[in-house]
């Protein structure tokens, strides 16, 4: 038994460092892909901005050498018409002219949000079923990104907000 353990120990001592050094035992890592997955009712433009905030935050905390090894991608999750539904509901309650002009300012915090908007958002939240919001087709591209990155020797870090967590978990 001692002899077997001794042989295995010799093998590990000799083989692992050799293989690691040559990148054959463990795949050599060429960098890290930080993938942001947005939450519900985020436009692509908003998701771009969130990704940029993550990027700048990491840039300020890492060394230039560490930061240079990072890539930042966006796995965009759609909102399944929820934003359009909210828009149409508000048009009925508040009138088209009001909503056309103020919709984005309400959502973006530029104008005080009327009670009607809060009420409609609450209605939507209560009837919203997150479990139905991860479509296979949507997920396929995300998985492909993760797979391609990993196969090319990169680590993948998924940073998700809200609905984005369901996609990341499903992937």
């Amino acid at each position: 038994m001692k002899r077997i353990i001794g042989v295995m120990w010799m093998f590990l001592v000799w083989f692992v460092p050799q293989a690691s050094a040559e990148g054959t035992f463990c795949r050599s890592e060429t960098g890290t892909v930080v993938v942001f997955g947005n939450g519900i009712m985020n436009t692509k433009d908003d998701a771009d901005s969130s990704k940029e905030v993550i990027e700048r935050n990491l840039r300020s905390t890492l060394t230039p050498d560490e930061f240079s090894k990072l890539e930042f991608d966006l796995a965009y999750n759609e909102s399944y018409d929820l934003m359009a539904d909210l828009y149409e509901s508000l048009k009925q309650r508040l009138g088209q002219d009001n909503v056309v002009v103020s919709f984005w300012r309400w959502l973006g915090g530029g104008d005080e949000v009327p009670d009607a908007v809060r009420e409609e958002l609450l209605k939507m939240a209560t009837r919203f079923d997150f479990s139905t919001m991860v479509g296979d087709e949507d997920l396929a591209n995300h998985i492909a990104l993760y797979r391609t990155s990993i196969l090319s020797g990169k680590k993948v870090i998924a940073v998700s907000h809200s609905q984005g967590n369901f996609f990341a978990n499903a992937a």
Binding site: T43, K44, D45, D46, D48, S49, K51, E52, V53, E55, R56, N57, R59, S60, F67, S68, E71, F72, D73, L74, A75, Y76, N77, E78, S79, Y80, D81, M83, A84, Y87, K91, Q96, D97, N98, V100, V101, S102, F103, W104, R105, G108, G110, D111, G135, E137, D138, L139, A140, N141, H142, A144, L145
Partner: protein, 192 residues
């Protein structure tokens, strides 16, 4: 609603004034009032009065803003009079959004425009600085401009349709070493 419209009109007036100065067409106040009244009453057809005074029109001055949706161009020029770099980056973004609205029925074009929009956003943030505050400021600027660009029911619906085309898509970010290439017009070539 009125809270949004009023500042925009004021900004338009500021833009008009600055352009008149640049063009050397600073007419007297009385003439301006008459010209404005004339334009409002549609009497500026030019057939009867024989006057060469043109109707009051807003003439944006930054050539980089050509082909930008007019309300967006006026807003950008009025709001960022002191920075050609910010104007150029926002013009780039506004042009992409305009294309996205026009092609919102086409998935492949929507994806292409979304990639361009991502680059425009990166350009704007790059233009604003290296730190986190630049990313926050970029977000605020895009958000404010978006409320100007999406100023009709049709444009809002097109924007929703454009975003719906993008679900499940993956968008690669520009490596930091190449971030300067995201700008159609290099900020380094602009004066301020």
């Amino acid at each position: 609603m009125t809270e949004i419209n009023q500042p925009t009109e004021k900004e338009n007036i500021v833009t008009m004034k600055s352009n008149w100065k640049k063009l050397g067409l600073a007419l007297g106040a009385g003439i301006l009032v008459l010209g404005g009244a004339c334009a409002l009453t549609s009497c500026g057809g030019g057939s009867s009065s024989g006057s060469s005074t043109p109707p009051v029109v807003i003439v944006p001055s930054d050539p980089n803003g050509e082909n930008v949706y007019q309300p967006a161009r006026q807003y950008i020029e009025a709001t960022y009079q002191d920075s050609a770099k910010k104007r150029a980056a926002l013009f780039q973004y506004a042009k992409v959004v305009e294309k996205a609205l026009a092609d919102s029925g086409d998935k492949q074009l929507s994806i292409q425009h979304a990639e361009e929009a991502g680059r425009a956003s990166e350009c704007l943030t790059y233009t604003l600085g290296d730190d986190v505050s630049a990313a926050h400021a970029s977000y605020e600027m895009k958000k404010d401009l978006r409320s100007i660009i999406l100023n009709t029911d049709e444009r809002n619906k097109a924007y929703f349709a454009y975003n719906d085309q993008l679900g499940g898509e993956v968008f690669k970010g520009t490596p930091n070493s190449q971030i300067a290439t995201t700008c159609d017009i290099s900020p380094a070539t602009l004066p301020n």
